[in-house]
């Protein structure tokens, strides 16, 4: 009885029910307003207008069911603004609109985790198909859908992979705030992302989509109705990303505690600031270009249709104006996590703080000036290629700052090889290879060979998986005890690390050779002489998949079965979030702390950290 009563109300279940209801309402309306006249092929499932309406009304219903309508409705009726805080400790708050930034952080971690595993499963299926040079498991259409879902899910969901779980949870604690600037929007960004992920998954009911994550036109216009899932997915991700970035910027700019000047801000927060700037400015371009694609598919406009006056170049340009900042949205939080964790495990101050900040902001600026390096052989602006070559290679200067600051922080330190530290050290190795292989792609003559081949695919897996996913795990092992209140098993963590590190390099290292030897991306068949390398890569990829299962086992068993309470400050960090008890109380700080130093004063004579009254943890020395 109590269980049944708890299920009633504004929560995920209501959201899903209203979401499905909204979908069918939109579907019904769509078929009514278009009528049979637009169904040229008499295939009712291929009615894009009704599918778009279904998805849009479905999202609206989902959000209303979660309770996002309550507050605007109350304000419309004249109630004063208020912040409805859910202070209950029950599990139910994770399944609804919750304005506690710590709950949203955990929601993000689990929600993104689910889609990360779906995306990873797609990768396993892709590698299964590539065990043989001919098409043997999946027909080409299904294979392309797998490729597209893997790419789109990873690129879309993981844009918030660090900022969603970790920045939402940690940034307010780091800057001494009790909440984010816009708590309802914070929750909205998460649920929009979940709606998006669900919608992308439903593409399999509408025939999948053949375009990969880039969705190039005019193939996008030509594709069947599964393409609509891609468009709605990425548009929702764009909206979520933009709002998340705005929220982060507003929080860090306006809600820092007294004494936390820009020069004392933890480097992780600087990474969040630079990522958020990119998110806020890049995501609208994505939403715009997808809206144009949607109009081309439904209202028969021709933004991208060459034979009707449009241009596919327009799509390529706009997509990469978003798409290149996008890859730095994925990479920059990784830089910031490495620089944040190294001082803790070297017990030295961050070396060259200002240079590190300059590096992050320099990448932020330069990432806007490089997008046409994705189009070196496309025939667009061929005389501008030397400029894009230069601007692309210039990015290695601010990226080099990150390397220098990280490496010099290690120098003469007291290194402790904890699991998060191992993942950070692996970042140096992976990003070194990723960065150096990027030089081949930025150099036009060399790019003629490597463009669109497995070489570029290996390159961006080294930078994104080696750069982002490794630091994502570093962050889980580092902040996990604070976020969950329980310790993760260190031995399993080390097994996970070594298996993942070796399998990762064994998977993507040979793919550089595969690309150089002439295998284009996203093919279902390949030449027979590349069979051995492809089988090697597939088997390594399966081992990589197993390493993820080890992590999953560790995470679940530590949190559900072992349940060893984590100490307040297991790493001996000086950062503000570790001065609070684990798990963090709902209001974070009873008294807002006052900062008089940055969190990197290792080895320096330091005043005791301004510990909030509610905290039991002392300073470490």
């Amino acid at each position: 009885m109590t269980v049944a009563r708890r299920l009633v109300g504004f929560n995920l279940l209501t959201g899903i029910i209203l979401g499905v209801g909204g979908f069918y309402l939109g579907w019904f309306i769509g078929h009514h307003i278009t009528g049979p006249s637009l169904d040229y092929f008499n295939d009712i499932d291929q009615n894009d207008i009704s599918l778009f309406l279904g998805y849009i009304l479905g999202v609206v219903g989902f959000l209303l069911g979660l309770g996002f309508g309550i507050y605007p409705w109350a304000r419309l009726r004249g109630y004063p603004p208020s912040l409805r805080e859910k202070e209950t400790q029950g599990i139910g708050r994770y399944f609804g609109l919750c304005t506690d930034h710590k709950v949203v952080g955990i929601q993000y971690l689990c929600g993104i985790g689910i889609f990360f595993f779906i995306g990873g499963l797609n990768a396993m299926l892709i590698r299964t198909e590539l065990l043989s040079p001919t098409s043997h498991v999946f027909p080409p259409g299904q294979y392309l859908t797998l490729v597209g879902m893997h790419g789109t899910m990873m690129m879309g969901m993981f844009t918030s992979g660090i900022l969603g779980p970790f920045a939402n949870y940690i940034v307010p604690l780091m800057i001494g705030a009790r909440r984010m600037a816009f708590p309802r929007i914070e929750s909205l960004t998460f649920w929009l992302l979940m709606a998006a992920g669900g919608i992308l998954t439903t593409t399999i009911f509408f025939g999948g989509f053949p375009t990969g994550w880039t969705g190039y036109q005019p193939l996008q216009d030509q594709a069947n109705a599964g393409m609509d899932s891609y468009i709605v997915f990425f548009a929702l991700v764009g909206i979520s990303m933009c709002l998340l970035g705005l929220n982060m910027l507003a929080t860090i700019i306006t809600m820092r505690a007294p004494g936390l000047t820009w020069g004392r801000l933890p480097i992780f927060c600087w990474g969040v600031v630079s990522t958020a700037i990119l998110m806020v400015l890049a995501a609208p371009v994505l939403v715009a270009v997808l809206a144009m694609g949607m109009l081309d598919r439904t209202a028969q406009t021709s933004f991208f249709i060459a034979s009707a006056g449009g241009s596919p170049y327009l799509y390529e340009n706009l997509f990469w104006v978003f798409g290149h900042p996008e890859v730095y949205i994925l990479a920059l939080p990784g830089f910031a996590i490495v620089l944040e964790l190294l001082p803790v495990f070297s017990r030295k101050p961050l070396w060259g703080y200002r240079l590190a900040v300059a590096g992050l902001l320099g990448v932020t600026l330069l990432s806007w000036l490089v997008w046409q390096h994705h189009l070196f052989v496309s025939g667009i602006n061929s005389d501008l290629r030397p400029f894009y070559m230069l601007s692309t290679e210039l990015i290695s200067i601010p990226t080099g700052f990150t390397f220098l600051c990280g490496l010099m922080t290690l120098w003469r330190g007291q290194l402790r090889f904890t699991v998060p530290m191992l993942f950070c050290l692996a970042w140096f190795f992976n990003f070194l290879i990723g960065g150096l292989s990027g030089v081949f792609l930025s150099d036009v003559p060399s790019d003629v060979t490597t463009h669109g081949s497995f070489f570029s695919m290996a390159h961006f897996h080294y930078t994104i998986m080696g750069g982002l996913v490794f630091t994502f795990f570093a962050a889980i092992y580092y902040w996990g005890p604070k976020m969950t209140g329980f310790q993760l098993n260190e031995r399993l963590g080390k097994i996970h690390f070594w298996l993942m590190f070796i399998a990762f390099n064994s998977t993507f290292g040979p793919l550089f050779a595969v690309g150089f030897l002439g295998q284009p991306r996203r093919v279902v068949t390949y030449t027979a002489h590349l069979h051995f390398l492809n089988v090697w890569v597939s088997i390594s990829a399966f081992v990589l998949g197993i390493s993820m299962l080890i992590f999953l086992y560790n995470f679940v068993s530590s949190l559900v079965f072992a349940r060893i309470p984590a100490p307040a400050n297991p790493w001996g960090s000086l950062s503000m979030e570790w001065q609070l008890p684990s798990p963090v109380p709902v209001h974070n700080f009873d008294r807002i702390p006052v900062f008089d130093a940055d969190p990197y004063a290792y080895g320096e004579p330091r005043a005791p950290v301004a510990v909030p009254a509610s905290s039991g943890a002392g300073g470490m020395s």
Partner: protein
């Protein structure tokens, strides 16, 4: 331990290793790079790749030696929380780092641009090629028409005959006009060192200077839909006499169907074909 000359030791190890490794990499790794030596453009790419890999060797050695040194020399062996020296930066090291990385980057960009400007390096350059090789006015025109999911080729100087397989004469400068009839494709002739996107409604020019006879692989390198993975072909470079007799045979063989082709043009736009609803 604290007073050991770590900096000197590291710098000497780095210097020795990179002095040994760089020429070895340049000589033994560099020349192994694809796509080989079959055309002037492919040769340029191999040359570029071998320079790049040589230039990258010292930075790679730097980071790897640094990591190896740090991980062995500076481990916390006691297990206690001991603080390291509170060094917060060093203006000299920062300046040197900026100068050196800046110099490497500017050199790379200058080197790549110089190589590109010479001949266009086999990449697609759009309807008005910005960087043309010497003697381009006498280049032979060949059109590559991509469609879902095959390439066909037209020879405008031979009556606009359209053939299903690409054959090029040896020792000739060829101007490839790449275009598409539907989605975006990419014409990748691996051994020729040519890659040019095929865009509907636009002409994408790539130059290639063939050398001796050769069989080469052609792939589509841009995702173009369902049968993208099957969009490959084999082409040939043959000597001038063989080419002359081949093209003559093709003209008579395809004459009955070529009558119905549209006149040769740089692009072909089919009537707007829109999918339904």
């Amino acid at each position: 331990m604290r007073d050991a000359p770590h900096g000197k030791r590291f710098l000497i190890t780095f210097a020795v290793l990179s002095v040994i490794a760089t020429p070895l990499v340049a000589i033994f790794v560099g020349r192994e790079f694809p796509p080989g030596n079959a055309t002037a453009q492919a040769h340029e790419q191999v040359f570029d790749n071998s320079w790049l890999v040589a230039i990258m060797t010292p930075p790679a050695v730097f980071v790897l030696v640094f990591l190896a040194y740090v991980l062995t020399a500076f481990r916390n062996r006691t297990g206690d929380l001991v603080d390291g020296p509170p060094v917060r930066g060093d203006a000299r090291i920062q300046t040197w780092w900026m100068v050196v990385t800046g110099a490497i980057v500017l050199f790379l960009a200058g080197f790549g641009s110089y190589e590109l400007v010479q001949s266009g390096s086999g990449g697609g350059q759009g309807p008005t090629a910005a960087f043309e090789p010497a003697g381009y006015t006498k280049a032979m025109d060949v059109q590559v028409i991509a469609q879902q999911w095959e390439f066909t080729y037209r020879y405008p100087t031979y009556g606009g005959v359209e053939v299903p397989h690409l054959v090029l004469p040896a020792n000739t400068l060829v101007r490839l006009h790449v275009t598409s009839l539907d989605a975006i494709h990419s014409f990748w002739a691996y051994q020729l060192g040519v890659k040019a996107d095929a865009n509907p409604g636009s002409d994408n020019i790539a130059y290639v200077q063939t050398k001796g006879p050769l069989t080469f692989d052609i792939h589509c390198a841009e995702l173009c839909g369902l049968w993208h993975g099957y969009m490959f072909d084999t082409g040939q470079v043959v000597d001038a006499r063989a080419f002359a007799s081949w093209i003559k045979r093709q003209r008579s063989y395809f004459a009955p169907v070529n009558r119905y082709l549209p006149a040769y043009a740089t692009t072909y736009l089919p009537d707007p074909q829109r999918r339904a609803g």
